[in-house]
Structures are given as structure tokens and as C-alpha cells.
Amino acid sequence: MAIEVPVEQVLMVAAGLFLLGLLGVLVRRNIIFLLMSLEVMMNAAGLAFIAAGAKWGAPDGQIMFMLILALAAAEVAVALGLVLQISRRFDTLDVDAASELNG
């Protein structure tokens, strides 16, 4: 038996996840954790899409989630390349070390 979950509650969870992710991006200095926080933020957005799609019974929300999954995969591929470069150049995973491009 399917349990009806009100859409508001799902959106609250999504918002909570998003804030957690944002907090992670802002406070963590390790670039790996930063990327993980980004994934959390994207999943929060995906959850909101799913909930909205379920509410209106439309497939668009799930299609958007598929797109986000593809985007996340591409992002991770690029980001891991950056991580490799940063760790080789600066011998650390601290993003603040890569702050040479300043005014």
C-alpha cells in the first residue's frame, strides 16, 4: 500500500538537503568534500523535480532528473580532472591554495 507523502514535506526535505550541500560548499576546504557537497545540492534539486512531477502526474520531473544525473556525471568527469591538476600543482587538495587568479 502506497503511502501518500504530501509534496510540501518532500520540498522541505529537498530544501534541507540543498542548504546542507551549500553549507558544505562554503565551509569545506577540501576539494573532494566540496564536490560531494555539490552532488548533494544537485540531488536536492532532483528531488524537488521528482516531487513536483508526482504532484501533477507529469513525466517532465523524472526527465529532468535524468538530465541532472547526466550533468552530474559530466561534472564529476571534469571536476576530477581539475582535482588531479590541483593536487599535482599545489601538492594539496585545499581550494584556497588555488587563488592566484585575483585582481
Binding site: L22, V95, D96, S99, L101, N102
Partner: protein
């Protein structure tokens, strides 16, 4: 040949282009052939065209080439206009110009300072001949002005030809700036003329002068006189000419004696119709001429550089021409222009031969005793001097007498006559001084004569012209330009006019060959002060230096950082300040950017929510 008139200015222009685009890569011999040949061919065409023009008996011949530009009602055309006045000028420019070019092929050959500069020299010289021909042949005052500025440019380039010496560059700039003062006045005069008559075509404008009110005619006449004074080195804009002698000697002969400096005389003669309406302006022309010829003939007496003596002498002879135009002796003025071109070109070229033979020594006190060693230059100098002094039977005699005797018959002319005769006496004195000091007495520098036929050939031709130019003028110009006047040479005025120069020569001979000792007079404190005053050219340079140059330099020094530029400097520094503030936000920290994005997003949401 008349239909080939356009070739006369076109040939030197082609010569200029060929020499200019090859950038001195042509062999020197070919450069000489092109440089002198283009002017020589132009002279031949001019001769043919002139002969046909005289035979045709027409008053004028116009050859329209094309419309320069068409702006509303203003459609100046490039039209060549041949009448007796421009025919005489064209003949002088191409004929004397060719002889000077020919002489220059020898004078500038393997030149001591600029051995590589032969091509550049002839390029400028050909450009000058082209511009001068446009000046005299142009039927439109705008074309005339084009030629006017063109000759000014060539004069500047050639005075500064020996550009390695900064002094010469200074002389060139001085000539350019001083004549620019006159050119500005002339340009204003042309603007006024265009506003009043709506055209710059010379013949149309002169036909319409009836529409001018006398005040406006006087203003235009005086403004054009300003231009003429600058170009022809008359008081008060005469100071550039002596310094212009920094250029090579053929340049002095062509530009600063025979042609360009007489452009002012041509301009006034050309605008005769305006001056006849404006007696005040015409009187001013005569006054300018009188003052210049007196001042410069006294100055010439004290100079020691042979070229500067000749430069001051040129100023005084042009003063005669201005005086002639001012007292209404129009054809006598142009006649003197022609004979002066012959004998002054001769004097300059002969002095050039002497200077070259003495390895660029120009001080007459270091010459001495040259008459036996440099016979051709000496004979040329002698004949040129005789014509300059206006001894009977030389060309200068006829033209100068025509001016002085016409002046005597003019209403207010007695003063002009007296001044002219006094200056003629001074001319005799300084010319004799130059000849005696440079060519007689003991030899101080051993000459080294290497002149060939291309150098002494032009001298011989000019010698003939300096003598025969007078009879030729009486015969030909009389018919062309109008009667020069009939003068009996028996009344006291005429006898005085003829006798004073002869007396001057005798006195000069006595004084400067040491037979009459005046050294105590010259050495007295008054004599010495007077000599120094004259030698400085009546202190004009000193006054202008105090009056214009020093204050201008002071302003330039005060305003070194350019007050007007302040606006732009302030704009630049404000922009730079904003840049620094903006650059502070670019820390390069990734998390700082993310936080800013988040804050920005929140702010946007809050704004949207509150609306």
C-alpha cells in the same frame, strides 16, 4: 604648342615622382638627367607655348583641365591661365630654373655633407618648380594658394637640406613659421574675397571688383599684402630670409632669389584690380617696399657672409619691386622681377662656384685675390654686380630706372624716388665692398677650381641674360605688359638717378681698397654701435625674440602639462579608481565567489518575494 601648356607643370611633377618613389636608388648620373632634364623639357614647352601665345596676339589663353571639387556654388577648377604676366613668370621659373638645376648637377655632385642626398635634392627642387608653376599659372586663387603653400613646403625642406646640423633645422623652421604668419593673413583675405564676391576665380573676381565697397577692398588688399610680405621677405616679416641661406647655394639662387620670394610681387600684380580700388593698400605696398629696401641695403653693407650679403640685397631689390607696384609702375615692377631673376641667380651661382672652390668658405674676409684664380666665377660676379648696381647698359639699369623715374612722376613719389636713389647708392657701396674684399687684395685661401661645363655653362648664359635682358625687356615686355614709360636721360632727376650708383661704386672702391682711410670713423664708439646695429639686421631678430619667442617659450614651459588635457587626465584617474575598487572583489577564492552567489540569490529572492 599652346595645347601642351599642361606639360609645363606636369613634367617637373613627373620628375619629382620618379625621384621620390625610387628613394635614391637610381645612379647619380640618371638622377641629374631626370632632375635637370624634366625642368629643361618644361622650359622648352614653355618657350614653344609662349612663342605661339605671343604670335597669336590674344590677351590671354586658358586651358581648363578639370574641376577640383564641387561644393554647392563653390567649384574651383584646375585651369591654367596664360597671360603676359604669367608668361613672364613661367619663362623665368622654367628658364632660370633649368639653368640653376643644371648648375646644381655640378654643385651637388658628391656633396661634402650629403653625398647620398642628390636624389632627395632634385626631388624637392622638381616639386618646387611644379608648385611655383601652379602658383603663377593657376586661374583660381585656391590653386594659387596650393602652389603658394607648396613652394613654402619645398623652401622649408631645402633650407633644412643639411639636416645633420640642428642650426639648419632651426633656420628652416624659422622660415616656415614666419611665412606662415603672412599666409594666415592671406588666407583670411581670400575668405573675405570669397564672401564678398562668391568666387575665387581670379578673372571672374577681378571682373566683379565693382561690387566691393572701398573699405572691404582696402581690407582685402592689406591682407593679401600680408601674405606677400611674408613670402617675399619684406619688413616686418623679413627675418627668415638671411637664415634661409643655410640651404645649398642653388636653392638660394632658385627659391630665395629668382622665384619664390618674388611670388609676393606676382600676387600683388595679379590682384592689380583690387589695389586700384584701394589706394590706401597700394600706398602701403609702396611704403613696405621703401622701408625694406632702405633697411636691407644698409644691413648688406655690414655682413661678412657672401650669401647673407646677397640675401639682404635680394630683400632690397624686391623692395624696389614692391615700391614699383605701390606707385603704379606695374610693368616696371615685373620687368625688374625678371632682370633681378637673371642677375641675382647669376650672383648666387657664381658665389656658389667660389664657395665650392674654397671648400665651403663663405666669409668674404677669408677670400681675397680670387679674380686671377677663378676667372669664370669672377667675370660672372662682376657682370651680376654691374647689373645689380644698375650701371648703364646692363639689365638692372633699365628696370631700376624705369621704377625710379616712374616713382618721381607719381603724386607722392618724390620721397620714394629719394629713398630708392639712396638705396641704389648703398647698393653700389655694398656690392663694391663684396667684390673688392672677396676678389682683390691678397689671397687668403687657395681656391681649388673643379667646375665643369655644367657649372660654368649656366653662368655664361646668365651673364648674357644679365646684360641683354634689359634690351629684351624693352623690346618684348613693352608690348606685352604695357609701356614701361619714356624717359629722357638729360633732366637733372634722371642724371642723378644714373650718377649716384656710379659715385657709389667709385667711393666703395676708394674705401674698401684702402685708398681712403675711414677706419677711425668706423672704430669710433658711434660708428661701431651703428655697425653692430646694422649687422644685426636693425635688431629685428632681437625684438622678435623678446616680443614673441621668449613669451611663447615661457607659456609653453608653464603649460608643460597642458591645462586642457586636465579634463582627460581626471577622467582617466577616476576610471582607474573604480578599477581598483572593483579589483578588490576578485580575490581568486572559489568559496568566496560561491558565497557571494548564494547571498546574491537570496537577495533576489527576497526582492521578488516582497513584490
Amino acid at each position: 604648342m599652346l595645347e601642351y601648356l599642361w606639360l609645363v607643370p606636369a613634367l617637373p611633377l613627373v620628375g619629382f615622382f620618379v625621384l621620390f618613389v625610387t628613394e635614391g636608388k637610381l645612379p647619380d648620373k640618371l638622377v641629374g638627367v631626370i632632375g635637370a632634364g624634366s625642368v629643361g623639357l618644361a622650359a622648352l614647352v614653355a618657350l614653344g607655348a609662349g612663342a605661339e601665345f605671343v604670335q597669336s596676339g590674344e590677351g590671354s589663353y586658358a586651358q581648363s583641365l578639370w574641376i577640383w571639387m564641387a561644393v554647392g556654388n563653390f567649384t574651383p577648377s584646375i585651369t591654367l591661365y596664360l597671360d603676359p604676366l604669367s608668361l613672364v613668370m613661367t619663362g623665368v621659373i622654367t628658364g632660370v630654373g633649368f639653368l640653376i638645376h643644371l648648375f646644381a648637377t655640378g654643385y651637388m655632385w658628391k656633396d661634402h655633407e650629403e653625398p647620398e642626398g642628390l636624389s632627395r635634392f632634385f626631388a624637392y627642387m622638381n616639386l618646387f618648380v611644379f608648385a611655383m608653376l601652379m602658383l603663377v599659372l593657376g586661374d583660381n586663387l585656391l590653386v594659387l594658394f596650393l602652389g603658394w603653400e607648396g613652394v613654402g613646403l619645398c623652401s622649408y625642406l631645402l633650407i633644412g637640406f643639411y639636416h645633420r646640423d640642428p642650426e639648419n633645422g632651426y633656420a628652416a623652421r624659422k622660415a616656415f613659421v614666419v611665412t606662415r604668419v603672412g599666409d594666415t593673413l592671406m588666407a583670411i583675405g581670400l575668405f573675405l574675397l570669397f564672401r564678398e564676391l562668391g568666387t575665387l576665380d581670379i578673372q571672374t573676381a577681378l571682373g566683379d571688383t565693382g561690387q566691393l565697397d572701398p573699405g572691404m577692398a582696402t581690407a582685402i588688399g592689406l591682407l593679401l599684402l600680408g601674405g606677400a610680405v611674408g613670402k617675399s621677405a619684406q619688413v616686418p616679416l623679413q627675418t627668415w630670409l638671411p637664415d634661409a641661406m643655410a640651404g645649398p647655394t642653388p636653392v638660394s639662387a632658385l627659391i630665395h632669389a629668382a622665384t619664390m620670394v618674388t611670388a609676393g610681387v606676382y600676387l600683388i600684380a595679379r590682384m592689380k584690380g583690387i589695389y586700384e580700388l584701394a589706394p590706401v593698400a597700394q600706398f602701403a605696398v609702396a611704403i613696405v617696399g621703401l622701408v625694406t629696401l632702405l633697411i636691407s641695403s644698409f644691413t648688406a653693407l655690414t655682413q661678412t657672409d657672401i650669401k647673407r650679403i646677397l640675401a639682404y640685397s635680394t630683400m632690397s631689390q624686391i623692395g624696389y619691386m614692391f615700391m614699383a607696384l605701390g606707385v603704379g609702375a606695374w610693368s616696371a615692377g615685373i620687368f625688374h622681377l625678371m632682370t633681378h631673376a637673371f642677375f641675382k641667380a647669376l650672383l648666387f651661382l657664381a658665389s656658389g662656384s667660389v664657395i665650392l672652390a674654397l671648400h665651403h668658405e663663405q666669409d668674404i674676409h677669408k677670400m681675397g685675390g680670387l679674380w686671377r684664380k677663378l676667372p669664370v666665377p669672377f667675370a660672372s660676379m662682376l657682370i651680376g654686380s654691374l647689373a645689380l648696381v644698375a650701371l648703364p647698359l646692363t639689365s638692372g639699369f633699365y628696370s631700376k630706372d624705369a621704377i625710379l623715374l616712374t616713382a618721381w612722376e607719381h603724386d607722392t613719389g618724390r620721397w620714394f624716388w629719394a629713398g630708392g636713389v639712396l638705396a641704389a647708392f648703398m647698393t653700389a657701396l655694398y656690392t663694391t665692398r663684396m667684390m673688392v674684399v672677396a676678389f682683390f687684395g691678397e689671397t687668403k685661401t687657395e681656391p681649388d677650381d673643379a667646375s665643369r661645363i655644367n657649372m660654368w655653362g649656366p653662368l655664361v648664359v646668365l651673364c648674357v641674360l644679365s646684360i641683354a635682358g634689359g634690351w629684351m625687356g624693352i623690346g618684348v615686355l613693352d608690348g606685352l605688359l604695357g609701356p614701361l614709360g619714356e624717359f629722357s636721360h638729360t633732366d637733372p632727376v634722371a642724371v642723378t638717378t644714373v650718377a649716384l650708383p656710379i659715385f657709389g661704386v667709385l667711393l666703395g672702391w676708394l674705401v674698401f681698397s684702402g685708398r681712403l682711410d675711414l677706419s677711425t670713423l668706423v672704430a669710433s664708439s658711434f660708428g661701431d654701435a651703428l655697425r653692430r646695429f646694422w649687422q644685426s639686421g636693425w635688431a629685428f631678430d632681437w625684438v622678435y625674440d623678446r616680443l614673441f619667442v621668449k613669451p611663447f617659450l615661457w607659456v609653453a614651459r608653464v603649460n608643460k602639462r597642458d591645462i586642457v588635457d586636465l579634463v582627460f587626465r581626471i577622467t582617466a584617474s577616476v576610471t582607474r579608481g573604480f578599477h581598483h575598487v572593483g579589483a578588490l572583489t576578485q580575490t581568486g577564492r572559489l568559496r568566496w565567489y560561491a558565497a557571494n552567489m548564494a547571498i546574491g540569490l537570496i537577495v533576489v529572492f527576497l526582492i521578488v518575494a516582497s513584490v
